[in-house]
């Protein structure tokens, strides 16, 4: 700074800090007075407010000129206590410790594995679903149309023969639902299955059998509200079969995919690596 603070009496080193000033407060008051004048129709307020506004604004701008608005704050305050290091006090993740599961191995399945699993599962599960359509005599398009009933109210009003025909709108909606659900569930499989402890066998059992059965059960309970048409026509045995096939396919694709190395997630893994 070229300008010094007016009186340079002190030679103590100081830190330059903005000088306290009343103008911001006065400016705020001025604006409020003007607003109050508008609200109340009391124009005397506006006059006072206007005057204060000009005065405080100029005062404020004056403080912006180099060297005006600052003062030197002497370094007379006590110092903080020094922070000391404590070595060896951080525990490291080990098997059996809470949160160990989060560690995740240094090598995991790539994200694409989950997506692949979902896509494969989504494709193979259409076979039992369509097979049911054909075997029950309703035809290929029946299951697709039922699925679309999740999103479209008009499906409720369709008769069985209508439900058996191909309908472009329903087909597209059904396709979107099917693809999105398959892919996202596959993605979750991809990242979650490897965290299941024990042998790969358990990952397949849980992902391929237990989870599909769980959600089949949940669907069974809630389908009446979620998708009344489907509830009305569905054959729960075949429904469960297709879910199981999806689960198995997705789980197998996931666990068989190549693993890749990832960044360590926490202090434990790094410790192990070192």
């Amino acid at each position: 700074m070229t300008h010094s603070t007016g009186e340079t009496t002190d030679h103590k080193p100081g830190i330059e800090m903005p000088k306290p000033t009343v103008w911001p407060m006065v400016l705020a008051l001025a604006i409020t007075l003007i607003a109050a004048a508008a609200a109340l129709g009391a124009w005397a307020f506006a006059v006072i407010g206007g005057l204060l506004f000009v005065v405080s604004f100029c005062g404020w701008m004056g403080a912006l000129l180099p060297g005006r608005g600052h003062e030197s704050e002497p370094l007379t305050h006590p110092l903080p206590t020094t922070i000391t290091g404590r070595t060896g006090t951080v525990e490291h993740l080990q098997p059996g410790m809470t949160g160990y599961r989060f560690r995740l191995p240094e090598k995991v399945h790539p994200i694409s594995a989950g997506l692949k699993g979902g896509v494969v599962g989504g494709i193979v599960m259409t076979f039992p679903a369509l097979a049911w359509g054909v075997l029950s005599g309703h035809g290929l398009w029946f299951p697709v149309n039922l699925l679309a009933g999740l999103a479209l109210p008009s499906v409720d009003d369709l008769s069985v023969p209508e439900l058996e025909q191909f309908r472009m709108g329903l087909f597209l909606i059904g396709l979107v639902i099917h693809v999105v659900m398959s892919a996202t569930i596959g993605l979750i499989y991809g990242v979650m299955l490897p965290t299941i402890p024990g042998a790969v066998k358990w990952q397949i059992i849980i992902g391929g059998i237990v989870l599909p059965l769980v959600w089949t059960g949940v669907s069974h309970g809630m389908m009446g509200i979620a998708n009344p048409v489907l509830q009305h026509y569905v054959d729960w045995f075949w429904f469960a079969i297709s879910q199981l096939i999806f689960g198995l396919a997705a789980a197998i694709v996931v666990v068989r995919s190549e693993k890749i190395a990832v960044m360590p997630a926490g202090s434990g893994t790094a410790g192990e690596r070192a």
Binding site: T89, V90, M97, T98, G99, M181, T184, T195, G266
Partner: protein, 341 residues
């Protein structure tokens, strides 16, 4: 929960869990489903929280040691991004279906239906109903504060009711919980709404958009009747007010007409056009209504008297002023009002 169910089983209630129309029914279904999903998420989250708390309070290890630092994990983050994603995806689909179910197009009633069209005008703080047409018949009846509609019996043609919602002053909202969701009445904009009742009876509701001092008492009454009763109601309402012939009754009528009531109220008379104010409710068939002041008090002679003397004592802040009538005038006015069957 139990209390909720108990309350819901009362005969006249305003619970959205005891629907009496297809749209309220679909919404109830959606509500239960969404509550189940969110309830599941809630249990999951609180469960994890409690588990984490319990585990971390009982953990072994040195006292001065910090626990292992875990910085994050991409796969886990992906999992808990995608899982809510699926839930949201399913919810949006479901909402879409129910949305189209409860808001059908008003100009396309289902085939074979006998639709009723009513214009509802919200006023600070009462409701004006203009019956436009029923089953294709033009009606042109105006009344206030008590809406009568026909029931849709199973197996018979549905009788949907399409309300054309407007406002004379500020925003209001039409809401009869058991018959379906609400729709606002905005000045300068006409909204439509679909009602269809499965049961006969009286259904209560009230204005659900803050509209000024007496918003709390802008009550709604919807009477659902059998189609026959409804026809009878329409026929009654379509008639003009009775024309008194008897002397005192005639005098009563003239007293009423000499007062400023006529500036605000309408009474449809055979030939008369003088009593045609529109600021207040139509009084042509006042006595056909069970309540006055938009459902606040019962329609009894005492209450009418109290009302005309000082509406503010019943409905503080309401837009009808009190009248310092002398005893004779008051008797006449009340006498005349009582004749408006």
């Amino acid at each position: 929960m139990l209390a909720l169910l108990a309350a819901a089983s009362q005969p006249e209630n305003l619970s959205i869990l005891s629907p009496a129309s297809p749209s309220a029914e679909s919404i109830k279904g959606l509500l239960i489903l969404v509550c189940a999903i969110t309830g599941g998420i809630l249990v999951l989250v609180e469960g994890i929280l409690i588990y984490a708390l319990v585990r971390s309070r009982r953990r072994a290890g040195r006292d001065d040691a910090e626990p292992p630092q875990v910085y994050g994990s991409k796969p886990i983050e992906i999992a808990w991004t995608v899982a809510p994603g699926i839930v949201v995806f399913v919810l949006v689909l479901l909402v879409g279906r129910v949305l189209w179910e409860v808001r059908p197009d008003a100009d396309k009633p289902p085939p074979g239906a006998k639709p009723l069209y009513v214009t509802v005008v919200g006023h600070q703080w009462w409701w004006e109903y203009r019956y436009d047409s029923y089953d294709g018949r033009e009606l042109g009846i105006t009344t206030a504060n008590e809406l009568h509609i026909p029931v849709s019996e199973p197996g018979k043609p549905p009788r949907p009711v399409y309300l054309n919602l407007q406002s004379a002053d500020v925003c209001h909202s039409f809401w009869v919980p058991r018959l379906g969701g609400k729709t606002d009445l905005l000045p300068g904009r006409a909204n439509t709404m679909w009602l269809q009742a499965d049961q006969t009876g009286l259904f209560l509701g009230q204005c659900a958009e803050y509209c000024g001092t007496q918003h709390a008492n802008m009550l709604l009454r919807v009477v659902v009747e059998s189609p026959e009763e409804f026809e009878r109601y329409l026929a009654e309402e379509a008639k003009p007010a009775i024309d008194p012939t008897e002397k005192t009754a005639l005098a009563d009528k003239n007293t009423f007409r000499s007062l400023s009531c006529v500036n605000c109220h309408t009474i449809r008379d055979k030939q008369d056009t003088r009593v045609n104010g529109t600021f207040g409710p139509d009084l042509t068939h006042l006595m056909a209504r069970k309540t006055i002041a938009s459902g606040m008090v019962e329609n009894t002679p005492e209450n009418l008297r109290k009302w005309v003397l000082s509406p503010n004592s019943i409905k503080p802040g309401c837009l009808m002023s009190g009248f310092e009538l002398n005893e004779r005038e008051m008797n006449s006015v009340i006498g005349y009002l009582k004749s408006l069957k």
